[in-house]
């Protein structure tokens, strides 16, 4: 029983890491209609930005802010100079997926000679263990959970209470109508890439910190989990991605406690397949903040 309680605690950490990344990914898709398969590579690149700053003597929390800033700028530039021109030429939806896949491979291969294939770790003392009931977490893990909660509340506030958030939702629902209503959709989309890029960058640093040791190959691993959470919750739905993150995070840890750990991802993805069979549109399709009417 103790192991399951501990696994539940670890699941809270996992779901926090996944949620930060998955919400950014799904917002990108929900508003810009772009499945950005380079998301995982932007995450890992941001993690390396934080790594080099950390090695230069800065704390990992400063590195995290820098990673978020880098992720925002990189994603913004990626859209402005790569994705947007393709979209402007009428590249199909599938074509854009292939473009983003190509970008992903290019980033990974450009990064490899710079960072090498060695796994690396941040210089960070995770702090003493804090025990509560059967839950055992480090100070850093509790901070990660806190960051995720604050970010999720901030995303909720952004989408619900701000003009920008409402403009994002309008753009997601019908970009032509939004433009005709005077919403500067291009600037809204720029803002989306900046905000979701910041989430992506921060998620990369948080995931790398949580892993203790990371390498360039982790970019692809991150993307699979993020995609799973986003699809499970309903593509394009931030609240759905949050629920997807909770389910994937908890299921992977609890199943590792219940069965052989080599099957933990099998169980998580098995449930994803089951949900897709029973509810192909995902758990929260057309009910989230970015959903189209109807």
């Amino acid at each position: 029983m103790d192991l399951f309680v501990a696994a539940f605690g670890f699941g809270l950490v996992s779901m926090s890491v996944i949620a930060i990344a998955a919400v950014g990914f799904t917002m990108q898709f929900g508003i810009t209609n772009m499945i950005n398969l380079a998301y995982g590579e932007v995450m890992i690149t941001s993690a390396y930005v934080a790594y080099y700053l950390n090695r230069a003597g800065l704390t990992i929390w400063v590195g995290m802010a820098a990673g978020a800033l880098f992720g925002a700028l990189f994603s913004f530039l990626l859209n402005r100079f790569l994705y947007a021109p393709f979209l402007g030429k009428g590249t199909s939806y599938l074509g854009m997926v292939i473009v983003s896949l190509a970008v992903s491979l290019m980033i990974a291969n450009l990064l490899l000679p710079i960072v090498g294939y060695y796994p690396v770790s941040y210089h960070e003392d995770a702090g003493r263990l804090i025990r509560w009931g059967g839950i055992v977490l480090t100070r850093d893990q509790i901070i990660i959970i806190g960051i995720a909660v604050v970010l999720m509340l901030a995303i909720h506030a952004l989408l619900t209470y701000t003009r920008l958030g409402k403009a994002m939702r309008a753009t997601a629902a019908n970009p032509t109508l939004a433009r005709n209503c005077g919403i500067p959709t291009r600037r809204v989309i720029d803002a989306v890439w900046l905000i979701t890029g910041a989430l992506c960058g921060m998620a990369g640093v948080v995931a790398a910190l949580d892993s203790d040791s990371f390498a360039i190959a982790n970019g692809a691993t991150f993307l699979i989990t993020v995609l799973a959470a986003a699809v499970l919750g309903g593509a394009g739905q931030p609240y759905g991605a949050m629920i997807g993150a909770v389910l994937i995070g908890l299921i992977t840890e609890l199943s590792a406690a219940a069965w052989s750990p080599q099957y933990k991802e099998v169980v998580a993805f098995g449930i994803l397949v089951l949900v897709m069979v029973l509810r192909p549109q995902g758990l929260l399709a057309k009910r989230g903040a970015l959903a189209a009417a109807g």
Partner: protein
């Protein structure tokens, strides 16, 4: 009619003269030769490929600086299998299809050996594989060579370290933490059998998914079984796992014994980054083949390895990586076999590789390519004892040698801390059933 005959004979003679540049079995030919390094350069086992590439570069330098293979210069080409059989097959096919001048292939780890070995064998290219899989223990593939013992013996050596290592108390309760890849899982059954038959207990057998972002729950489950020691090979994920062991065990490490693959600069850096150098020095134990890291063969290897830094900056870091030493030797022996047979036809020089490795009675022992070529030109029979030491191939093209118990120094250098006596070794092998 006579003029036609003369023309035909003339044409045959011209063709025969041109035939010198093809691998015909008559003469070494001309043009560059290639050694294919087929291994994971990306993916979870991306640390393996560079170790093998670091073997090829100094071997090529050693050969090229001493006249090449009959004047033919040797170069190294990487073929990335990503550690996945599905990616390995096209990589092997591409390697063979695009290089008609392949003299040898090195690498083929347990990740991809089952897939690529038969393909390379069918192409009649001598290969030196770093797989420990038991399916190759009695292989009949003629072009396959293995210069290291099967994983089963590596597993026995780890058990021997746990039970008989002189630098620590006898460990009787072990947790097995091995990656869920084919290569790592090959250790589990022999280690379990030998350890339990010799009175130990396995507290938990934990196959971990390599590349996972965390192992918190796995570590919690492992710690709950209170092992004395962790026996492990989880390349690529060792840092993440061991850091979580330390974190969840209140900053205290548990002794851990790694396979010979953990004597590796990538592994060392990853784990020291994660848990700190002091804990690696204090709690790590490993096993390795008994290298001396000295002598003329090693000096020649080291000189050329350091010179290879201009092509591969990390090459000098592999100065004590066993597989790097062995594969270097494999390439040198292949080149010597080509010189010996005066042939670039693999079907001619391949059988001579083992002759050069094992040596006939009265053979002259040589340690470098240069000395080998000189001895062959003097008409002598040779035995090559290279940077990795003496080789002893059996009838299944497997070379056998013994293990030592090792640790690391603070710079990542291997330190011998003990060895298993012949009696201890026999005891473990008997318990393991091999």
């Amino acid at each position: 009619m006579p003029s036609r005959f003369v023309f035909a004979v003339g044409a045959i003679l011209v063709l025969a003269a041109c035939g010198g540049s093809t691998p015909s079995g008559n003469g070494l030919g001309s043009g560059a030769l290639v050694v294919g390094v087929i291994a994971p350069f990306t993916g979870a086992d991306a640390g393996l490929g560079p170790a093998y590439y670091a073997a090829c570069l100094p071997a090529a330098l050693s050969i090229n600086n001493n006249g090449g293979v009959g004047g033919r210069q040797v170069s190294c080409s990487k073929f990335d299998t990503r550690g996945e059989p599905a990616d390995a097959l096209p990589a092997a096919n591409q390697m063979i299809a695009s290089n008609s001048n392949l003299m040898a292939v090195v690498g083929c780890t347990s990740d991809e050996a089952s897939t690529v070995v038969s393909v390379i064998d069918k192409a009649h290219i001598p290969m030196f594989c770093m797989t420990g899989q038991s399916e190759f223990n009695k292989t009949t593939l003629k072009y396959f060579h293995r210069l290291v013992p099967a994983d089963v013996y590596d597993a026995y050596a780890m058990v021997g370290n746990a039970l008989f290592g002189s630098t620590h108390p006898k460990y009787t309760k072990a947790a097995l933490v091995f990656g869920d890849d084919i290569g790592s899982q090959a250790f589990v059954q022999p280690a379990t059998t030998a350890f339990t038959k010799l009175g130990g207990t396995i507290s938990i057998n934990q196959p971990i998914h390599l590349g996972a972002s965390s192992y918190r729950t796995e570590v919690q489950a492992m710690l709950a079984t209170h092992p004395d020691v962790i026996l492990t090979e989880a390349l690529g994920s060792a840092g993440t796992y061991l850091k979580e062991v330390k974190t969840q065990n209140n900053g205290q490490m548990i002794p851990f014994i790694g396979s010979s693959a953990t004597i590796d600069p990538v592994w060392f850096k990853q784990v020291t980054d994660a848990i700190g150098i002091n804990d690696v020095l204090k709690y790590y134990g490993g096993v390795d083949l008994g290298y001396t890291f000295s002598g003329p063969a090693y000096t020649e290897f080291l000189t050329n390895l350091n010179a290879s830094a201009s092509q591969f900056a990390d090459a000098p870091k592999y100065k004590q990586r066993g597989s790097t030493l062995h594969l270097y030797d494999g390439i040198i022996m292949t080149a010597l076999a080509m010189v010996m047979t005066n042939s670039s036809d693999p079907s001619v020089y391949n059988p001579k590789i083992i002759d050069i490795a094992n040596g006939a009675t009265g053979a002259t022992v040589v340690n470098t390519y240069k000395d080998g070529v000189a001895a062959l030109k003097a008409g002598k029979s040779i035995r090559f004892e290279g940077a990795g030491g003496q080789n002893n191939f059996n009838q299944w093209n497997n070379s056998q040698s013994g293990y030592i118990l090792v640790g690391y120094d603070k710079d990542g250098g291997e330190v011998k801390v003990g060895e298993l006596t012949p009696s201890q070794t026999s005891q473990i092998i008997a318990a393991g059933g091999s």
